[in-house]
């Protein structure tokens, strides 16, 4: 994965693909300090609308952020803006693909549409990112 130095309108961001497992969700729960049983307690989660555990939204967002770090390097850390909606849950066993495309470059500001889909093509996260360069 290499940092791109110049991205024009229409350019695709480097995709990031990850497979979600319950072990990864548990590890994130420990690191993130979020012990919501919806993520880690299969008995609790089975009784919810989801029928089973789901990944933290911030875990999925970390994958989107990895893509933006790969694309923009330190500029993402220093000037990044992100606005997303969580549209559907990521579940253990899902393979997630984060992708994005540059929609405008203006005055040193690069705007991208970003999303994360599962292996069925369902959009789990979508939104917009902006980086000043």
């Amino acid at each position: 994965m290499t940092q791109q130095t110049s991205l024009a309108v229409g350019a695709a961001l480097p995709t990031v693909t990850k497979t979600i497992t319950q072990e990864k969700i548990n590890a994130y729960s420990l690191a993130g300090g979020d012990d919501n049983p919806l993520h880690t307690d299969s008995a609790f989660a089975a009784k919810t609308q989801f029928g089973g555990t789901i990944a933290h939204g911030m875990l999925v967002l970390a994958y989107v952020s990895e893509m933006l770090t790969a694309a923009f390097g330190k500029d993402w850390l220093a000037s990044g803006r992100l606005k997303v909606r969580f549209r559907a849950p990521a579940r253990p066993g899902d393979t997630l693909k984060s992708s994005g495309k540059v929609t405008s470059v203006d005055g040193g500001k690069t705007v991208c549409e970003v999303e994360c889909r599962n292996e069925s093509g369902e959009v789990l996260v979508s939104g917009e990112a902006e980086v000043s360069r």
Binding site: H56, G57, T69, K74, L77
Partner: protein, 135 residues
């Protein structure tokens, strides 16, 4: 511990400080498998780690109702953060409403280093009305 469901619009969370220790950052990066941050020199902390720690700091004062969903997130980063630094987080409930049996709560976050903002954000959380006590 107070549940988030009992808090109303305008509530300000007690300010909290957190340390970005090497050990914690390593655990975070491993949990999210962030190869891009590993490849980026400089000892920087993944921006989402800052957001995660800020939210974690809030949860030390108020618990999430079981089954709380993360409906949306806005974040703005204004300076890179390095391992070993100490940050402070301030947060308030900026909005609270109900729709179709669910509470929608907007929580604004501001993370600072030595009083200078490094990240601002807004998390939109949702949980069943039955979990909420405050109007």
């Amino acid at each position: 511990m107070t549940t988030l469901a009992a808090l109303g619009k305008g509530y300000e969370f007690p300010p909290a400080a957190f340390d970005l220790s090497e050990e914690w950052v390593d655990a975070y990066v491993a949990s999210v498998e962030d190869e891009a941050m590993v490849a980026l020199d400089g000892g920087f902390v993944p921006p989402m780690a800052i957001a995660a720690l800020a939210i974690r700091a809030l949860l030390e004062h108020s618990s999430l109702p079981p089954g709380t969903l993360h409906a949306g997130q806005e974040l703005a980063f204004t300076a890179p953060v390095r391992r070993g630094e100490t940050l402070t987080v301030a947060a308030r409930i900026a909005s609270r409403g109900e729709r179709a049996g669910w509470v929608l709560m907007g929580v604004e976050l501001r993370v600072a280093r030595d009083g200078v903002s490094v990240m601002t954000g807004r998390a939109t959380l949702s949980f069943p009305v039955a979990e909420g006590a405050a109007a």
